[in-house]
Structures are given as C-alpha cells and as structure tokens.
C-alpha cells in the first residue's frame, strides 16, 4: 500500500468527517437540550442548499454572502417550528413523526420549485487544490473543514464557558431548580432551535458548494449523520466533531485499503461497537 495514497485518503476522510460534524451538530444540540429528534434538520439543510444554488447560480450573489442572510432566516424558521412543537406538546418520539412530515413536505416543495433533476452549482470560488508536499488539499474542502472545526469548537466554548451554556446544561439536568435560578426554559429552547436552524443553513451552503443537488438526496445523509451524533454524545460539539472525523477517516480507509463498497458499513459498525461498549451513550 502506497503511503501517499493512504495519506490522501486520510485527508479526504477528515474533510468528510468535518462535514458530518457540521451537519450533525444542530441535530445533536436539539436532541440533547430540547429532547427533539429533529428529522426536518436534513430538510432544512437541503432547503438552504437549494437557496444557495438559487442565490449564487441564478441571482449571481457571491456565495460568501449567502450565509449572512440564510443563517438568520433559518434561525427564525427553526424557532417558529419550535414554538409549534411547544404549543402542541410534542414529545421526543412524537417529534420524529412530526418532523419527518415536515421533511416530506419540504422535499415536495423543493421538487415543485427546482424539479427532481440534478442541479450542480458551478462556481469559480474555491476551485482547485493546494499542494502540501505530496498531498493535494482541495481549497473548498479545506475551507469547509476549517468552518466545521471552528463551529464545533465555538459551540463547545459557548456551552462550557457562557451563562447561556450553563443555563442550558442546568435546564436539562433539572428544569425546576434551574427556573428558581432564573433560567427561562422557553427562551432557551427557542435559542437552541434557532441555532440548530442556523447550523442547518450553514451546512446547506457547503452541501451546495460540494455536491450536486436533488431533493431526495437528503435521505442519504440520515444514517451517517445519526451515527455521528450518537457516537459523539448528545449535545457535545467536540464529541460530534471527533465522531465525525472518526467516521470519515474510517470510511476513507475502508475505501482505500479494502473496497469502496465496504464504506457504508463503517459508521454503523462503529456505532454498534460503541453502544455495546458504552450503552449509556444517549
């Protein structure tokens, strides 16, 4: 086995893992702090990806500017969805059905507006690769990876060191006592849901930059992102990042060392192994 091939594959896996973490972070936070298994997170990601396509390819807006208005927009949409969830008293398991319904509606909407055909955002931004020794590092993937790492570390810092982070953790541990100390559960839940929506928008921008789009593609991300979130530990941004990288690199090694067809088995094998060894993970 060629060492360069292995290193290049590891790099490719790191980039995939970064994307898994970025896409999984919002899901992980809402699962942990809201007790909502938000399947519509994937729909939001793809809605953001299509809007990025629309803004960049059709309206010729610079792709770097797109997150500046997509993130606030999705923050509001996700917060409104959370208001509806609170209003109807949807519980953790009910949220699976409700948000899956939203996902189907969004998929139909995407198909209605942009058709089922493939769309590929052709842009000159972040084209090409830089050469690092014998390795080639694609600019777009490297930029996405940096954003993913920064976002996960930033989220960890917010949860660990700020009042909001402490309030969130306290609210999950014991809402009654937290409220005595002035923690406003409802506001916090809207903040978490909105942040998850913003993260979905951010992830969607990279999906549009890196992949061809078709509405049903959102379902193909379910498995690997759920595996990443569960392995990372709910509500743990650094855990999600590490799990994403582990999954991405393992998939890449499976492709490079064994056969590409083994790659889909990897995240689930890792997840089952971890749940067997550490059953109290969720």
């Amino acid at each position: 086995m060629n060492a360069n091939l292995l290193a290049q594959s590891a790099l490719s896996g790191l980039f995939s893992g970064g994307l898994y973490a970025l896409l999984g972070l919002g899901l992980s936070l809402s699962w942990r702090f809201l007790r909502i298994i938000n399947l519509s997170h994937f729909a939001m990601i793809f809605l953001a990806a299509y809007l990025t396509y629309q803004c960049t390819a059709i309206w010729k807006i610079n792709p770097y500017l797109v997150p500046l208005f997509l993130i606030p927009l999705f923050f509001v949409v996700a917060a409104l969805q959370q208001l509806a969830i609170i209003r109807f008293g949807i519980d953790e398991f009910g949220s699976i059905v409700a948000t899956f319904g939203v996902t189907i509606v969004v998929e139909a909407l995407l198909q209605l507006i942009w058709s089922a055909d493939f769309l590929r955002l052709e842009t000159d931004h972040l084209k090409g690769s830089m050469v690092l020794g014998s390795l080639l590092v694609p600019w777009a993937d490297a930029f996405m990876f940096m954003c993913a790492v920064t976002t996960c570390v930033g989220a960890w810092g917010l949860l660990r060191f700020t009042y909001i982070g402490k309030a969130l953790r306290a609210n999950v541990e014991n809402p009654a006592i937290a409220s005595i100390f002035g923690v406003q559960s409802r506001r916090l839940s809207l903040l978490v849901a909105g942040s998850a929506g913003g993260l979905a928008a951010f992830g969607g921008v990279f999906i549009a930059l890196l992949f061809a789009l078709t509405p049903s593609q959102m379902y193909s991300w379910f498995g690997v992102i759920f595996a990443t979130v569960i392995m990372g530990g709910l509500g743990s941004p650094l855990g999600v990042l590490v799990a994403g990288l582990l999954v991405g690199v393992s998939e890449s090694f499976a492709m490079a060392l064994v056969a590409p067809s083994w790659a889909p088995i990897v995240p689930f094998t890792l997840m089952v192994s971890l749940l067997t060894l550490r059953p109290g993970r969720i």
Binding site: D141, S216, P260
Partner: protein
C-alpha cells in the same frame, strides 16, 4: 382566540396531510379522470425519491406520446388514458401499485416503471395476471425470465460483452488501443454485470485491468476512489456509473489534479456530464440522440419538439430529447404497434405478435426474438465534444463530421 388559532392550525394540518397522501396515491400526469370508453394504460414512475431525476423525463415522454396518440385516432378509435402513480423509487411499493392498477383500476395494459430494479419487482405481478410488460430501461437479459416481458432498451442479448467491446473498438478506431484500464463500478444490478463483462473483454483483448473497484449506490465521497484511480493512471477509465456518479468521480479526480486520458460512463446523467468542463471527451452509451441521422424522421422531430417544450414547461434543467425519454416513448410505440397489428386488447396475442415481429421506434427497429426477448443491439457510443454530446460509433449512427477523440 386560542381555539380559533387551534382550528386554523388543525385545518392547515389536515389539508397538508390530505395533500401529502393525495400526492402519493393519486393518479398524476396525463389522466385525471377515467372513462369506460377509453383504453386504459396504467403504470408507475418514480416521481419522487432517488430515481426521480430520470423518471421525470420518462413521465414527460409518456405524456407527449399519449397526447399525440389522442390527437390522432387513439387506439382502435378509442381515446387512451394513462393512469400514472408514484412508486417513490421503491420496488415494493411499485409491486403493490401495479397490483392495484390491474385489479382495481382494471387497466387494459400496463406501462413501464423506471429502472431495472423496479421492473424486476413488477415482473412477477405482470406474470401473475398475464399482462404484457414492455419496459423502458431494462438492460439485463439474464434476468428477463417472464415470457411476456419485452424491453425497448435494445442492447442485445449480451450487453456485458457488446458494450465494452464497442467502447474498445471505438477507441481502437481512433488508433488508441488502451494498454491499461481501470474499472470502477456502482454495485447496482444494471452496472455490475457490465463491469464484470468489461474485465473479461479486456482480458481477452490483452488490456491490463490495473484497478477494479466496486462502490455502493449512494456513495458520496469519491476521494479515496479517485486517489486509487490516480495511482493506477489507466489509459481508459471505465465507470459503471449511474446518474451523477461519473461527475462526482471526475470532481474528486480534479481535486487531485488528475484528469483521465480516456473515460467511459455507462448510464450517466447526460446534462451535468456534458455541462461540466471535466466531462470533456467523456464517452457514454446512447440509444437515441437529437442528432442526425437519428432525428431525421418525422416521428423523431415531432417527439423532439413536443418533448423539449414540455420539459421546459416542467422546468427541467436538462431538456434534450435523448436516450431516456426516447426509451419511454419507444415502449409506448411498441405497445400501440402491437395493439394495432393484432387488432386486440389481449395481452397474450400482443406478446405472441411481438415475439415474431419487429417494431419501428425512435430508438430504431426493435426485435424481441433473442434470449429473454432481447433482440438487436442498437447501442451507440456518444462523446462530449465542445460541451455537447455527439455520437461517434458505430459508423452508421455517427453524427456527421464527428470522430472520436482519444488520447
């Protein structure tokens, strides 16, 4: 106030739910109402799900055909209704829907679903009720075990030999006989056996297959595969690609500053591959293209103009009337030809007639006299040249002035 809001929300929820259910189960497309004076053709297409990008083309082609048919004298002087359901790209759902179309909707004929997997699932249902099944894209003669199954995807009885042979012959015609070949294929029934056949053909012709990789359908990260292709650096990259997989591999190769010298894709999404700069000189299979000599007949030009206009109306990004829609159109041409010639609505008579006759379609003259009712091999090889597809082989079908570009 609260109860009012609750009522509004409940109403909206109910409407959304009803619309969602209706969207899934209601007939769509050409026919909204059923009429006993009409001849009913029923089928499914994958209007949603991963197969939807291509099935959308099949839907438009089918609608165009039924419209043209009804603008003439229909079938036996009766109008034709096409009852089209959404199988959501799920074989098990398609099976149920065909059962419903035959037993509840009492369709006279069944039309083709999209994709070999779904056709395979539907075949036992057709067999149970003795219905003739003329599929649009079924390419696996060995799995065509139902006596009344026919296909417009006319790739001959041994495509696993004939397609790779044609690819190598095409390159040889340009004086470039590859010494090495990398085969990368999706693990889908339609691609897998062709790739395995390509390995055998390569061996027989003395071409060294220096890489053979299989990947799962739905693979997103082609980086490690690209790294292995780059390392193998073959004269010919033979990709058993469906849909967008070819583009994804090319993009991953570009990130490694690598472009294949010669590259072939089995069943790619033609629009994105031609539109991408990376698709330059890519080879692919074709059955019909909007190019001379194939677009010269009146039937072809009528189909092309009607399809393009309908595709534009449906907001499809790729509006070329090429292989996929032509295959769907040809299935209906085949069915109506058999119905007219036998002057019958009897599936057994139609099937018997098809086995011993040929039918002139957009794709060419279809025969069904070989193993698995596969007949003539009408495969062509096309190539992306200057951002557009041109047919480069066989010679009789080559676009005038076009020759294969090989490195």
């Amino acid at each position: 106030m609260n109860s009012f809001i609750m009522k509004v929300v409940r109403s909206v929820s109910a409407i959304t739910l009803t619309l969602s259910v209706a969207f899934v189960i209601a007939p769509s497309g050409a026919v909204a109402q059923q009429n006993s004076d009409t001849i009913k053709i029923g089928g499914t297409l994958s209007l949603t799900g991963p197969l939807a990008p291509t099935a959308a083309m099949h839907k438009i082609a089918g609608e165009v055909y039924v419209k043209q048919l009804n603008e003439g004298d229909g079938l036996h002087g009766r109008k034709v209704e096409w009852i089209l359901l959404d199988d959501q790209s799920k074989p098990e759902l398609a099976r149920t829907l065909y059962e419903r179309l035959i037993t509840k909707d009492k369709v006279d004929f069944i039309s083709s679903p999209y994709s070999a997997n779904i056709a395979l699932a539907v075949m036992p249902v057709a067999e149970r009720y003795g219905k003739a099944l003329i599929t649009s894209t079924f390419s696996m003669p060995k799995l065509s075990r139902y006596a009344r199954h026919f296909t417009a995807w006319s790739v001959g009885p041994t495509p696993e030999v004939s397609i790779p042979t044609l690819v190598l012959d095409t390159l040889a015609g340009a004086g470039k006989i590859p010494k090495t070949m990398a085969i990368v294929t999706g693990k889908t029934p339609a691609a897998d056996f062709i790739a395995a056949g390509a390995r055998e053909v390569a061996k027989q012709r003395g071409v060294d297959v220096n890489l053979y990789l299989e990947y799962e359908f739905g693979t997103r990260d082609f980086g490690p595969i690209a790294a292995r292709v780059r390392q193998a650096d073959p004269d010919l990259l033979f990709v058993g690609a469906l849909g967008l997989e070819g583009n994804m591999l090319l993009e991953a190769l570009e990130k490694l500053n690598y472009a294949p010298r010669n590259h072939f894709y089995l069943y790619p999404s033609p629009g994105p591959l031609a539109a991408s700069k990376l698709g330059a000189n890519a080879l692919a299979t074709a059955l019909f293209e909007d190019l001379p000599p194939m677009n010269q007949s009146k039937a072809a030009s009528d189909f092309i103009s009607a399809y393009r206009s309908a595709a534009a109306q449906a907001n499809l990004p790729y509006q070329e009337a090429d292989t996929q829609p032509a295959a769907m159109y040809s299935t209906l041409q085949t069915l109506t030809a058999a119905v007219r010639e036998t002057k019958s609505l009897d599936d057994s008579k139609i099937a018997d007639w098809l086995k011993v006759n040929s039918v002139e379609t957009l794709i060419g003259k279809l025969r069904f006299d070989g193993p698995g009712n596969f007949g003539a091999d009408l495969t062509k090889i096309k190539q992306v040249q200057n951002g557009k597809w041109v047919v480069v082989a066989p010679k009789g079908f080559a676009t005038p002035g076009a020759t294969v570009i090989a490195k």
